[in-house]
Each structure stands twice: as structure tokens, then as C-alpha cells.
């Protein structure tokens, strides 16, 4: 089967972008979508033309490197899958596919379909961790964690940081990403001591990076390759105003 590609070509974040057309070679329906792009690129390279810039790495949907908007949908037509998990059998022979990068002020374009997602790293650096130095840990079973909490924390921690939530949100909001990390750590007793500090710092960083606000549509959840629930966003909201209410007074520890 063959498809026609209309690919967003752009040099650097200040470059003028435009769509350029390419024809794919004849590929098997069992070929993955990115493998099809590999073949297009190999073809371009052997003709001494500039290949299409796109990112990918693990090609099994866990590293979060790949991602592009295919015909207006982040990560393409699959459900609960990243771009690398698409197969050509999900398209039809002769389809015209428009490929665009994640579009957000906070994700400037580096080249074609490759964007800079370091804003996500800076949000984690703002507080998305538990401050425990190497060697300072008690025995693993010293802190029991209810199975339900461990499971919910795992649901949230499954986030791969690909940025599809931002790409698919009409406001380019990063709330799903931030809420996944806040939920993961707020649901565990280990995360308790920094619970308020963390959520405030992460939300402030999120705003500083230039992401939009949440309209509660749920497009992010539908686009998320790990199907992270937007109930995490509800939790983030709650955690945030709760933290703001608790922030001012000096906290008095129980007992003593």
C-alpha cells in the first residue's frame, strides 16, 4: 500500500514552516508507521535530499520520544498508543496524511516534527520528586502502602512524558502531565512531607513555561498513549487549593 504525506517542514523555532508533499514507497500493512517514514527517509537520503526530521527511540510506546499530529490527531488514529505503535494496516491505501509537530509555545519546534519538550523536565525539577538521598531509606516494608493507593499511584506514574496531552489540548495545557506526577507522589505516604510544597512549585513552573489552562474537555485523556485519567487533574486542582489553604500558617506537628 502507498500513502501521500504532507509533512510540516520547519527549521528552528523562528523558521517559517510549510507543508511539503512526499509519496511513500509501497509498504506492507504490517509495516509500522515510523518504519514507513524510515523508508521514505532512506529514499530521500539516497536521492541526496533532506530527510524528514522526526524523533523516536524505543518504538514500543514506553520512552515517550516519538510523537506527531497525524491528520489533526496527536499520535494518530490509535487508542492508548504512541505514534511508534501505529501500523500501516490502520490506514488505507491512497490515504493522504498530514503530519504536524506538537504545537505549543512551550514546545518550540527544533526541526520539522521534532520539538523541544525540556519544559516538562523543568516542571519535574521544580518539585516532582521525593527528597530522599541515596542511603537514607528505611526498609522497603517499613512503610506499608495500601494496595489501592499503590495501584492508583502506578496508574498515574505510567505517564511517558510524550507531550500528547499538550498537543491535543486546544489550550496547549500541561495539566494532565503535571497532575499525573502530583497524583503519583501525593497518593503515596512517602510523598506526604513535601505534598504542599511540591504541587505549588510544579504548578507555578507549569505556568511559567507558558502552557495554557485546563478546559476539562478530556481530549488529553483520549490522546494519552497511557490513558492517564483526567481524574488526576481533579486531584491536582484539589491538591493545589488545599496546599494554598495550608501554605500560610506554620504547621504544628501532632503530639508532643
Amino acid at each position: 500500500m502507498k500513502v501521500t504525506l504532507k509533512v510540516w517542514k520547519q527549521n528552528g523555532k523562528n523558521g517559517q514552516g510549510e507543508l511539503k508533499s512526499y509519496e511513500s514507497p509501497d509498504v506492507s500493512p504490517d509495516c509500522s508507521f515510523l518504519e514507513m517514514l524510515d523508508l521514505v527517509n532512506n529514499d530521500l537520503e539516497s536521492k541526496n535530499q533532506e530527510p524528514i526530521g522526526f524523533d523516536s527511540d524505543c518504538r514500543e510506546g514506553i520512552c515517550g520520544t516519538c510523537g506527531m499530529v497525524i491528520n489533526g490527531v496527536a499520535h494518530g488514529p490509535g487508542h492508548g498508543t504512541a505514534t511508534c505503535q501505529l501500523y500501516m494496516r490502520q490506514f488505507k491505501d491512497g490515504d493522504v496524511l498530514t503530519l504536524e509537530p506538537w504545537r505549543a509555545t512551550a514546545f518550540p519546534v527544533i526541526k520539522d516534527l521534532v520539538v523541544d519538550r525540556s519544559a516538562f523536565d523543568r516542571i519535574i525539577q521544580a518539585g516532582g520528586y521525593i527528597s530522599v538521598g541515596t542511603g537514607a531509606a528505611p526498609d522497603g516494608n517499613a512503610i506499608p502502602v495500601p494496595k489501592e493507593n499503590a495501584d492508583l499511584a502506578m496508574d498515574a506514574a505510567a505517564c511517558i512524558g510524550c507531550g500528547a496531552c499538550v498537543a491535543s489540548c486546544k489550550n496547549a495545557s500541561a495539566m494532565l502531565f503535571v497532575s499525573a506526577k502530583v497524583s503519583h507522589l501525593a497518593l503515596l505516604p512517602q510523598g506526604e512531607p513535601e505534598r504542599e510544597r511540591r504541587v505549588i512549585a510544579m504548578v507555578e513552573q507549569m505556568d511559567k513555561e507558558g502552557f495554557g489552562a485546563c478546559t476539562n474537555e478530556g481530549e488529553c485523556e483520549a490522546a494519552c498513549p497511557k490513558q492517564i485519567s483526567i481524574s488526576n487533574i481533579a486531584r491536582l486542582n484539589r491538591e493545589y487549593w488545599r496546599a494554598k489553604l495550608l501554605e500560610q500558617p506554620v504547621r504544628v506537628e501532632k503530639g508532643g
Binding site: S32, S46, G53, C58, R59, G64, V114
Partner: protein
């Protein structure tokens, strides 16, 4: 030359403790005067960066991904071993030590493995404290499972995403160190050379993948945590960008490369569907807990799996290894599959596949139980193959997965180049000739969290180093060699794509230096690799220029290294006239099982670079087994 692993004296249980005491300490106030470079942000690199920063060192951390969280450790599925004995089933540090030495087919350094087993328990504690959401029982305690042929339940896991969760734990610790200012993080920076001054590792040369800018970084010590070289086979379960470049370029600067022929072929991967394929996908080994592996009895049986009655099926793992059955270790299961497919009994297109059948498990436990355990794996399988594994058996075939070989390191994880430390999969140290399931994560984190923070202090406190900066002539030289190579690559302007060469090399390596190796095949290989290399340098087409974003150039540099590295790998496989673990020389077997030659090959082989196309010099580190009795590794 005989290499000294610098294993401390004393009884094995006391070695690490006493060694830590004997290592010199760096005064806390002085640590901030020292800079350490860490290349790679997988489990080993991220944990090392965070731990060294916490101690007070200035850490410069590099990764070629756009975020440290994307390193390939993230794809590990199964779990991480630790000798916690939470299940009260008889596990202990000694048992984990013993299993690992035996699993490695007695080709690992005893003292290293023992230390790994000792610190395994600390790793779990550390990760739990970081908020890694390990699976829990209803009482709130940690859950365990038995994994990869172990007879005790010592594997901790977070669904099928243990590697992801452990890496995110380490990534968070690293992020905390970045925010404290102790780690300067350089993403999208690929290390292209190691800088050596006065015989000591003192810096690296990197290329900024977004802009093409070449940069120099100086430090008191350099840690490489850059993973393995499975992608020498082109098709492997590794990520597309995994490569040997960092360790290979260190090798070209004088670091010894040990046991490159030890590669692990994972038995449960989805078979290749065509030539377009860019990578192979692993199906977690845990599937073998309930799935039964079989092939038709008859050669070339074209019937569908349902049409083949039980008495015409060969459940070969159960037949050959009654006590381990479908859970036989990776190398053994892989080889058994290859043997039957080579004999024409393979299934699926091309005949390179065996069935992994859940029919009986579904009948026994019900579909919902199987779905709860493996639902996500079944859906991955469906996504890739378009087949429903609840209805028809899965087809699996072995694929390159992990490499036990790597840069040679001593007990301190330091290579033969003073100041060059190597961590995780990039070193050769702990798995011998075969790695057990759920041990890679353990080793990566052991090296990063609990070993390097001590041993690097010993080096920094115990050696004299002159003050250098990046203006030193050695930096200029290294930079020149890097830019020179890139210019050369771009100047070729040939007709074939980089991937095309990589594919060609990979296929050749898989056929002649993959699961089964013969002297004849390896000798042919040694003749063919230089030919491909020569063609590469005259007929490759690298578009664009070096001073910009250029993914073709990135790949070209890596493939150029593989075209040299492959030769050393083949040579190592040829020189090792025995079969052990993942290295199976067809000439050396007994009733189909690998036959070791302990008298001649109970050693590590480390290679020293002598020039492109030149035969590297061979060095030997003899292996002493004082605590584990050498035995035939039998799983029957």
C-alpha cells in the same frame, strides 16, 4: 598481559565492607572542588549522577535524548531482583550470588557478583523511598514474583513497567540534583570522544544534536553509563538509537573491551514480519509462567495450530528440561527454539517462530485471570501482529536483547584508564556469559547508587591530577578527530543510505555471530565485515552538513563504529573455543547443551585497540571460583 581485577582480600562476605573502609575519603569541603562527568542517564547514569551530586561533587550529566527519562532502561518490563527474602522461601544474599554466578555460566567475577547481591536489598529500600509504585499485597507490603527461571520469589515489579518506574525514580532524584544546582544537565548531547591527559580520563567531546555544535568538557573523572551494543544486529529489542559509540570511542582511546561475544538473545520476542522492520518487540518473559511453548512434531507442518492435535505437538522445553520446563533460562530457551526452527519445524511466515500457547492456562484459570495477568501484553501482541492471542497461540522467536560484554573494569568499576569508570550494561562485570532475568535493573542501580559513590571517592582522593581546562592540546586533538570523521562521512556522497549498511551488517552478525556460532562462520564474517566497512566509506550518503540538526549524520557515526566493533566481536567469538551462556559455539556441545572449557577459558578476555582493521591485543583476567563450585550448568 594478565589483568588485575583488584579484588580485595578476605572472605567474600567481608570484601566489600572492608574495601569501603580502606577506600580513601574525600573531605566533604573538598568534594565541591571536583567535577565528575556522567555520560548516559539510564538507571546507572541517572542514579550515579544523583548520588554523586548528593555527596557534593559537581556533576556534568549528558544524554543524547531530549530528556534523561527516555534512556532505554525505561523499556525493561519484568522486574528487579533483591535478596530480601520477604517471601520466607529460602532466599538469601548467598543464594542470589550463587544463582547469578551459575546463571552467568561461571564467567563472572565472584567478588563483584557477591557485592551486587549484598546491595540488592538497599536498592529496593531506596526505590521505595523515592516513591516507585511497586506492586503491593492487600496488607500494604511489597509483592514478589518468581521470574526468569529463579526458584525463589525475589523479583519486585511495577506491573509490566518496572524499568520505567525505576528509571523515573532515578530521573526524579536526578531532577532534584539539577534543581539544587549540583548537576548540570546536558540533554541532546552525544559523546563523541574521550579526552585523556597524562594517561587519565579528563574529559569528553560532545556534539549538540540540535545545533551540531561541538563542545569540550573537562572533569576529574568520567563515568560512562551508555548501555550495550545489541543494535550491532540492527534488529534487536533495544531502542533505535542505542549504540556502541561512547564505549567504542573510549576503546579507541585505550580502554579495554571485555567479552564482546557475550550477547543475550531473549527467547520471547515477536517474530520479524518483513524487511521493513526497524526493531523487534519483546514480550515479557513472565508470559512463560503460564504459556506453553511448542512446535509441530512434523517438519514443514502447514496446518493451523488448532488443527494440530496434542500428540503431534512437541512441547520441547517441558520435554527437555522437565524440572524447569517453560521457565528454562533465556539462553537455553532461545537456543532450543533456534534448533527446531533450523530443523524446519518453525511456525509462521518464514518459519522463524514457535508457539507460546495459553490454551491450557485459559482452560485452567479462566480467560479473566489470564487477562488480568497479561492483558496489556496480549494487546501489544494484537497491535503488532493483528492476531488475538486468546484465540490462537502467540508466535515468538528469540531476539538480541542485552549484551553482557562491555568495557573492562576492575572491582572499583574503573577501566584500565585511570579516571574512566564504566557502569551498568556498558561494563562487562557482573553477568558473566549470560544474564538472569530481572538482574539488569539490579546491576544498573547497584553501580550507580551504591558502588560508584564510594569507589570514585577513592580514586579522587588517592590520585594526583594536574589542573587542566578545555584549552589543553588533548581536547583540541580529540575535537579535531571528531570533526574530521564527520567531514569525511559527509564528503562521501555515495548512493546507499546509512540504514542500508546497518541492516546489511546486522543480518550478517545475526547469521554468523548470533545464537549459534561456528569457527568457519566467524572466519567468513571476519572477511566480510571489512568489505562492508570499505564500501561504507566510499558509498554511503550522508545528506546535509555537520553544523546543523542532522539525524542521518548521527546514525552514520554510530554505524561507522559498529563496522569496526563488529570485527572485534567476531574475533572474540572465534577465539573463545567453548560454549558458555549466550556464546554458543556449535562445535562445543554435549547432547545439544553448551560445553564449557574451564581449563582453557575460565577467564575474561579484554581487547586492546591497535588500529582499524588491525588485530587487537588480547589481555586475560583469570577468574577464580573460591565460593561457588564450578559445575555443569544443568536445568534438566
Amino acid at each position: 598481559m594478565i589483568l588485575d581485577g583488584k579484588v580485595p582480600a578476605g572472605p567474600i562476605e567481608k570484601k566489600w565492607e572492608e574495601h569501603r573502609f580502606n577506600l580513601k575519603l574525600v573531605n566533604p569541603a573538598n568534594k565541591r572542588k571536583h567535577t565528575v562527568i556522567v555520560v548516559g542517564t539510564g538507571l546507572a547514569g541517572a542514579s550515579a549522577s544523583a548520588s554523586l551530586a548528593e555527596l557534593g561533587y559537581n556533576v556534568l550529566t549528558f544524554c543524547f535524548h531530549d530528556s534523561p527519562r527516555r534512556a532505554h532502561s525505561i523499556a525493561a518490563q519484568g522486574g528487579i531482583n533483591a535478596a530480601k527474602n520477604y517471601q520466607n522461601d529460602g532466599d538469601s544474599v548467598h543464594r542470589l550470588f550463587y544463582d547469578t554466578v551459575k546463571g552467568g555460566d561461571f564467567r563472572a567475577r565472584e567478588a563483584n557478583v557477591h557485592r551486587l547481591a549484598e546491595v540488592s536489598v538497599n536498592i529496593i529500600d531506596q526505590c521505595v523511598a523515592q516513591g516507585v509504585p511497586f506492586a503491593r499485597e492487600y496488607g500494604g507490603v511489597l509483592a514478589n514474583r518468581s521470574f526468569g527461571g529463579a526458584q525463589v520469589s525475589r523479583t519486585f515489579y511495577a506491573r509490566g513497567q518496572t524499568g520505567q518506574q525505576l528509571l523515573i525514580g532515578a530521573y526524579q532524584a536526578l531532577s532534584r540534583a539539577v534543581s539544587s544546582g549540583k548537576v548540570k544537565l546536558h540533554t541532546k548531547h552525544e559523546m563523541l570522544d574521550l579526552v585523556i591527559i597524562n594517561g587519565q580520563a579528563r574529559g569528553i567531546i560532545t556534539r549538540d544534536l540540535d545545533t551540531g555544535k561541538i563542545e569540550r568538557f573537562a572533569a576529574d573523572a568520567v563515568c560512562l553509563a551508555t548501555g550495550g551494543y545489541s543494535t550491532v544486529f540492527f534488529l534487536s529489542t533495544n531502542a533505535k538509537n542505542c549504540n556502541v559509540t561512547a564505549t567504542y570511542r573510549a576503546y579507541k582511546r585505550g580502554a579495554y573491551f571485555a567479552n564482546p561475544c557475550y550477547t543475550q538473545i531473549h527467547p520471547t520476542c515477536i517474530p520479524q514480519s518483513g524487511d521493513h522492520q526497524s526493531k523487534l518487540t519483546l514480550m515479557s518473559e513472565s508470559l512463560r509462567n503460564d504459556g506453553r511453548v511448542w512446535v509441530p512434531n512434523k517438519v514443514g507442518d502447514k496446518r493451523g495450530p488448532h488443527e494440530i492435535p496434542d500428540n503431534e505437538r512437541d512441547y520441547y522445553l517441558e520435554r527437555k528440561y522437565p524440572s524447569f520446563g517453560n521457565l528454562a533460562p533465556r539462553d537455553i530457551s532461545s537456543r532450543a527454539a533456534k534448533e527446531l526452527c533450523d530443523a524446519g519445524k518453525g511456525v509462521g511466515p518464514g518459519g522463524f517462530g514457535v508457539y507460546l500457547d495459553f490454551r491450557d492456562a485459559i482452560k485452567r484459570d479462566g480467560r479473566s485471570t489470564i487477562e488480568a495477568k497479561y492483558g496489556n501484553l496480549f494487546s501489544i501482541y494484537h497491535e503488532i501482529t493483528g492476531e488475538d492471542a486468546y484465540q490462537v497461540p502467540m508466535r515468538i522467536y528469540p531476539a538480541p536483547h542485552y549484551t553482557m560484554g562491555g568495557l573492562w573494569v576492575d572491582y572499583n568499576l574503573m577501566s584500565n584508564i585511570p579516571g574512566l569508570f564504566v557502569l551498568g550494561e556498558a561494563n562487562f562485570s557482573d553477568h558473566g556469559a549470560n544474564r538472569l532475568g530481572a538482574s539488569a535493573l539490579m546491576q544498573g542501580l547497584a553501580d550507580g547508587y551504591f558502588i560508584i559513590p564510594y569507589t570514585i571517592g577513592g580514586y579522587i582522593a588517592g590520585t594526583k591530577r594536574e589542573t587542566v581546562d578545555t584549552q589543553h592540546a588533548a581536547f583540541a586533538d580529540a575535537e579535531k578527530s571528531v570533526t574530521g570523521q564527520m567531514e569525511k562521512l559527509i564528503a562521501v556522497r555515495g548512493k546507499r543510505s546509512v540504514d542500508d549498511f546497518h541492516r546489511q551488517l546486522g543480518k550478517l552478525m545475526w547469521n554468523k555471530c548470533g545464537m549459534g556460532r561456528t569457527a568457519t562462520g566467524l572466519q567468513e564474517l571476519l572477511k566480510e565485515i571489512p568489505k562492508i566497512r570499505d564500501e561504507f566509506w566510499t558509498n554511503v550518503n550522508v545528506t546535509g552538513s555537520a553544523g546543523t540538526f542532522n539525524q542521518t549524520l548521527e546514525r552514520a557515526g554510530r554505524v561507522a563504529d559498529y563496522l569496526e566493533f563488529a570485527e572485534m566481536m567476531a574475533l572474540d567469538a572465534l577465539e573463545r573455543n567453548e560454549s558458555c551462556g549466550g556464546h554458543f559455539r556449535e562445535e562445543f556441545q554435549e547432547e545439544g547443551e553448551a560445553k564449557r572449557d574451564d581449563e582453557k577459558f575460565r577467564h575474561v578476555t579484554a581487547w586492546e585497540y591497535k588500529g582499524v582493521g588491525e588485530k587487537p591485543a588480547q589481555h586475560i583476567e583469570p577468574l577464580e571460583f573460591e565460593n561457588v563450585k564450578l559445575a555443569v550448568r544443568s536445568y534438566k
